[in-house]
């Protein structure tokens, strides 16, 4: 059986790990402000936790929808949400929560990350992948996917969230430590390409893909 959905889940996590506005840059800033690498590393975990919560919520919502709605509606509805959200991100690329500042407590940092990931639609992007995860052996659902009842599929959902966030944390940690220790923030001026537009386009494409498959 193909492993591509898991690679895709991990790749999306890595993408959020690379995006400076999703957290690594904040961790570097907090580390630089205190001149402490320990502070940087400490900051990575609440950022990952907030991201996990945001993605987990979306995955749980999809699972719940799978459990309670007629399955033939789920795919078009999810796809429509993806496309509409993508259009929103294209039209308002800089819409993000205006909350907190440089002096953050760790729970606030987690909430900030949750808000940023949610406003970004981080979890939404998992929808097409979730729809195509292979049905675990022994399950007799009408459609492949997973539901709240039935342990293997709940575990599958949890695994998706963990793989995604784990991948994000590893990439985010690597980049932030490399930037803090060796590369320096001048890299932002050349390497910080406008991911917002790419991301918005990707959301729309993923919505279309979910419809097409």
């Amino acid at each position: 059986m193909s492993h591509w959905p898991w690679f895709a889940v991990a790749l999306l996590g890595a993408y959020h790990g690379i995006d400076p506005s999703m957290g690594w840059l904040f961790a570097v800033a907090l580390g630089l402000q205190e001149r402490s690498r320990a502070k940087l590393i400490e900051s990575l975990f609440p950022i990952a936790a907030g991201h996990l919560l945001s993605v987990g919520l979306v995955v749980a919502l999809i699972a719940w929808a799978q459990a309670v709605t007629a399955s033939q509606w789920l795919r078009p509805a999810g796809a429509a949400i993806l496309i509409l959200f993508g259009i929103f991100r294209l039209v308002k690329p800089r819409a993000h929560p205006r909350w907190v500042a440089m002096r953050v407590r760790m729970p606030e940092l987690a909430l900030w990350s949750f808000l940023m990931a949610s406003a970004h639609g981080a979890g939404l992007m998992l929808f097409p992948i979730l729809m195509d995860l292979p049905m675990p052996a022994g399950m007799h659902h009408r459609m492949p996917g997973f539901a709240l009842h039935g342990h293997p599929t709940v575990l599958q959902g949890i695994a998706v969230v963990l793989v995604h966030t784990g991948s994000m944390l590893i990439v985010m940690g690597g980049i932030s430590i490399a930037v803090y220790e060796w590369i320096g923030l001048a890299i932002l001026r050349s390497a910080w390409i406008n991911l917002e537009t790419i991301w918005a386009a990707a959301l729309i494409a993923a919505g279309m893909l979910a419809l097409a498959i």
């Binding site: 400076p20 506005s21 840059l25 904040f26 570097v28 800033a29 630089l32 402000q33 001149r35 690329p93 800089r94 993000h96 205006r98 909350w99 907190v100 500042a101 440089m102 002096r103 953050v104 900030w112 923030l185 001048a186 932002l188 001026r189 050349s190 910080w192 390409i193 406008n194 917002e196 537009t197």
Partner: protein
Amino acid sequence: MALWKPDQTFYPSPRMAMQAPPEKHAFVVAFNPTAQNGKPDALCVLDLDPKSPTYGTVVGRTEMPNAGDELHHFGWNACSAALCPYAPHPHVERRYFIVPGLRSSRIHIIDTKPDPRSPKIVKVIEPEELAARSGYSRPHTIHCGPDAIYMSALGAPNGDGPGGVVLLDHESFDVLGRWEVNRGPQFLAYDFWWHLGYDVAITSEWGTPNMIENGVVPDLLLSNQYGHSIHLWDLRRRRHLQAIDLGAENQMALELRPAHDPTRAYGFVGVVISTKDLSASIWVWHRDGGQWAVRKVIEIPAEPADESQLPPALKPFKAVPPIITDINLSLDDRMLYISCWGTGDMHQYDVSDPFHPKRTGTVRIGGIVSRAPHPKAGGPVNGGPQMLELSRDGKRIYVSNSLYGSWDAQFYPEGIKGWVAKLDANPTGGLTLDREFFVTFEGERPHQIRLEGGDASSDSYCYP
């Protein structure tokens, strides 16, 4: 329009901004002191490219739609603060100026692209709208923040207090409203800036519009009624934290220059005049345990003068006060520049140790008594170094000579002839006059100068 890469004039840290290429244009507002003639104020563009045939001349000019605005300070829509990690928007452009009229309270949004030599007015916010949405009037300092544009205002629409800070949306430029949630004892307003690394804002005090618009009121000054405190605020929660009184005799605590390095929690404030001895002073605010404290670190004395050489307002004192009206701090937090509009001196101090500044250079141009000549003017000039702007690399200083219409008339009653001069600074100590650079303004007076791409008082940084 969103960019694909961050605006190349944004720098993560002030240290990196010092590597920026030299500026090619300056923008300077020119104020018409005789607004009765119906001629509006203008935003002028100076050519600063030494290789250009029009170097050192006015190459662009955008007139305001109305006369009598009294353009004064202005600032950018976006700057390096857009790179701050908690609300990043690195792909916006440094492009628009927010240009308020200090007297009219009318705010102009001016586009400097695609041709910086012909800026275009794209939006005008009328004073009624500013008043209705914020309760404030007489807009002054503009700073591009991480999440909005912040603008200080001297008072209420009726000319009384309190003055405070207004937020503008950094995309639509709509007036969002009053910034303060809890202003505590703060009533007078003037300048506004922050320590982004500490979530702390600082405000200073001049006077309400009624106290300043018809000139400095001697009775108010001699009874120490003008502002003499600075205020520290929780920038995030918008609450007053602490007022620090510099002492009632230290009248008019104006320009605030916090350290550019966001990890440094100190800054400099200039006091215009002491009613004890007419001296002017520079103070450092700094963290002291959990509180903030101030210390006077520079005092510049008045110079004795013959009564016959003094304007009526100063005759009784038989001295020229230095009158510190503007200060500026180099991006490495090393050099502090001080304009003494009364004596005509521009000082450079090494403030590597902020508590023990060392004077490293002085140049005199104009001055109430000295009228020190500029070689290019071919004789004495009037007014004195006032608004000063420093290039990001810390090597060039541009300075204009007008303070504020009604106050110009009291200290230079013959009428200030507007000019912009340039000084060359050695970033490690030393200051000389550029004998070739001297821009004059006919019937107009230049005030704040902003440099293309940013300068030493335009940007804030979230990374050291």
